[in-house]
């Protein structure tokens, strides 16, 4: 069945419309990052920077310790992603593959965590982390982010494992696979789209988190990018739209590269052949 010309045009049209909506604020941020302060609030608004400048980037890169904050954020986000995806992949497998006492209790309890407003955690984290020495550490942030990303990750994995036909497991059993092999060599390769999508979501959630970082981090050396970027805005001072946008644009780069890298696996992960069994 070939795609008709009309359908092709319709698809392109839709892509353009959707693109406009989803990327326009980003476009505005990127172009703003190349504008000088007096060209930012103008009438009519400048859709394209007429006299582009790299001043904002120079200021962001030279001022502050942006490099350090950047590494801190990457460290936190990557650690969170690896640990959280690993734990969720295990748990998702456990919940999907087995029947055991308390299975649904725990499964729904994990989901229910996500309905709890963040402020419930603020004071307890502050008090408890202060007592056990996790306050003002990146480890403290990572542990919180792992917990916060688990509910969605576990449920996603359950969804993906559920799609694996049981005869695949049975076949593997006949081949003499043990529990861990079954998980690592049979189930996990079949949920690559799940791993990819969970990784992207967890990475971005940890990479951009602000509220908990504000409460748990004290010293300059432990700050993450969102904290540092928010710090560019001063009370009773002009909002530095240009430098903010420049910092935001730089911060997007690793996330963007990750998603391009990961998309490759998202497209072709779940092979039709494997499902045929």
């Amino acid at each position: 069945m070939r795609t008709s010309r009309l359908e092709r045009i319709w698809i392109y049209f839709l892509v353009v419309v959707f693109m406009l909506f989803f990327t326009f604020p980003i476009y505005w941020a990127v172009t703003t990052s190349f504008k000088s302060p007096d060209r930012i609030l103008t009438l009519p608004p400048e859709v394209f920077p007429y006299s582009p400048t790299t001043d904002n980037y120079n200021e962001v890169i030279n001022n502050n310790q942006m490099g350090l904050y950047f590494l801190n954020s990457l460290f936190v986000a990557v650690s969170t992603t690896i640990v959280s995806v690993l734990i969720a992949a295990l748990a998702g497998y456990g919940f999907s593959r087995f029947r055991f006492r308390g299975k649904y209790f725990w499964l729904y309890l994990i989901l229910a965590i996500r309905t709890v407003p963040g402020l419930v955690f603020t004071l307890p984290y502050f008090v408890i982390f202060d007592k056990i020495g996790l306050l003002d550490t990146l480890t403290g942030l990572i542990v919180v982010y792992i917990t916060a990303t688990l509910p969605l990750a576990v449920w996603l994995f359950v969804g993906f494992y559920d799609k694996i036909p049981t005869d695949i497991y049975d076949a593997a059993k006949i081949d003499g696979c043990g529990q861990l092999q079954m998980f690592g060599q049979v189930a996990l390769p079949l949920v690559v789209p799940g791993i990819v999508v969970t990784s992207i979501l967890n990475f971005l959630a940890a990479y951009n988190e602000f509220g908990t970082a504000l409460i748990l981090i004290f010293s300059d050396n432990n700050k993450t990018l969102p904290l540092a970027i928010a710090g560019l805005i001063q009370l009773q001072k002009d909002t530095p739209f240009g430098t903010l946008s420049a910092a935001g644009t730089i911060a997007i780069i690793p996330a963007f590269l990750l998603s391009i890298f990961a998309q490759k696996y998202l497209v072709s992960g779940f092979t039709a052949g494997a499902v045929k069994g």
Partner: protein, 307 residues
């Protein structure tokens, strides 16, 4: 023949023995995290919700005050007033999320887009990537009075400019747009991943049988990924009901209190107004509302599946 039976017996025996512990080993790490870093803090806050815990008051003033916090927050007109708008908001936001997310995912998954356009998939999830503090500022600029591009376009079209933060309806629309913009990419991602679980041979078979595209979509694709749709709905409903950032940054609840959500009211109570006990009480009332809502939703949706 005999050999095989023996083999099966052995595995069955092993299975029974090992399987008792195995499932718990798989789920244990996750459960440990949840208990230590979610359940314990929640219980801690639950205790606080029954105390007169105010920041800035001496420690000696902190004592149990029974249901006072709960009664107080329930008699707070702003809190009660925020419930209706929060649910309206969640309903509209999640509905648009689903329709828009599915449309974008279908377009991206279309064979026309398969070759050479993969980068588009990454472009569509850009809203998830931009630091929220920056995207909030950008939306403020876009919707700004006088200098905002949105109002500029409106005035070019010859229409009167809109007061996006000053009037109730425009403020609500703007908050919805901002939230939909930032949350739909999540749905797109999950739809895209979910599509990967649809066996291609099934669709090929349907095509050969002459099924139309909409039939394939509604009769084959969507039913196969219904788990994922349910997941998107429940996660998004939870997140939308907790809506906080887009409101605080854009209108701070105004004009008046008309865009205050449950999330903003309890946050303000706890941290801006320093009444942590009261804020926690509000949070638990909110939690109960959501759980009740979710149970009703699950009950209704499972009935639908049976039909």
């Amino acid at each position: 023949m005999l050999k095989i039976t023996k083999y099966q017996q052995i595995t069955r025996y092993q299975r029974r023995k090992r399987f008792e512990l195995a499932p718990y080993l798989f789920v244990l790490p996750a459960i440990l995290f949840i208990i230590l870093l979610a359940i314990i803090p929640i219980l801690y806050s639950l205790v606080i919700s029954f105390q007169s815990y105010r920041l800035g008051a001496p420690d000696s003033a902190i004592r149990f005050n029974g249901l006072d916090n709960y009664i107080k927050i329930l008699s707070n007109p702003t809190f009660i007033g925020s419930i209706g708008w929060t649910f309206t908001f969640a309903f509209i936001s999640v509905s648009v999320n689903l329709v828009l997310g599915l449309s974008v995912a279908l377009v991206l998954n279309h064979r026309v887009m398969q070759k050479g356009f993969k980068i588009f998939r990454s472009l569509f999830i850009l809203p998830l990537m931009l630091a929220p503090v920056v995207s909030a500022i950008m939306w403020k600029v876009l919707f700004a009075a006088i200098y905002g591009p949105v109002n500029y376009v409106i005035s070019v079209l010859g229409l009167p400019s809109v007061s996006w933060i000053g009037d109730e309806l425009p403020a609500k629309i703007a908050i919805l747009v901002i939230d939909i913009w930032s949350s739909t990419p999540f749905c797109v991602l999950i739809f895209l991943a979910a599509f990967q679980t649809i066996p291609t041979d099934l669709i090929e078979a349907a095509r050969i049988d002459g099924a139309s595209k909409s039939t394939i979509l509604f009769r084959i694709n969507l039913p196969i990924i219904r788990n994922f749709i349910a997941l998107i709905v429940s996660i998004r409903v939870m997140d939308a009901l907790r809506v906080f950032d887009s409101v605080i940054v854009f209108t701070n609840g105004g004009p008046g209190n008309s865009t205050e959500t449950i999330g903003t009211v309890i946050y303000k109570t706890a941290f801006r107004y320093s009444d942590i006990g009261g804020g926690s009480a509000g949070a638990f009332i909110f939690f109960v509302i959501i759980v009740a809502f979710t149970l009703i939703f699950l009950k209704l949706s499972s009935r639908n599946v049976e039909v």
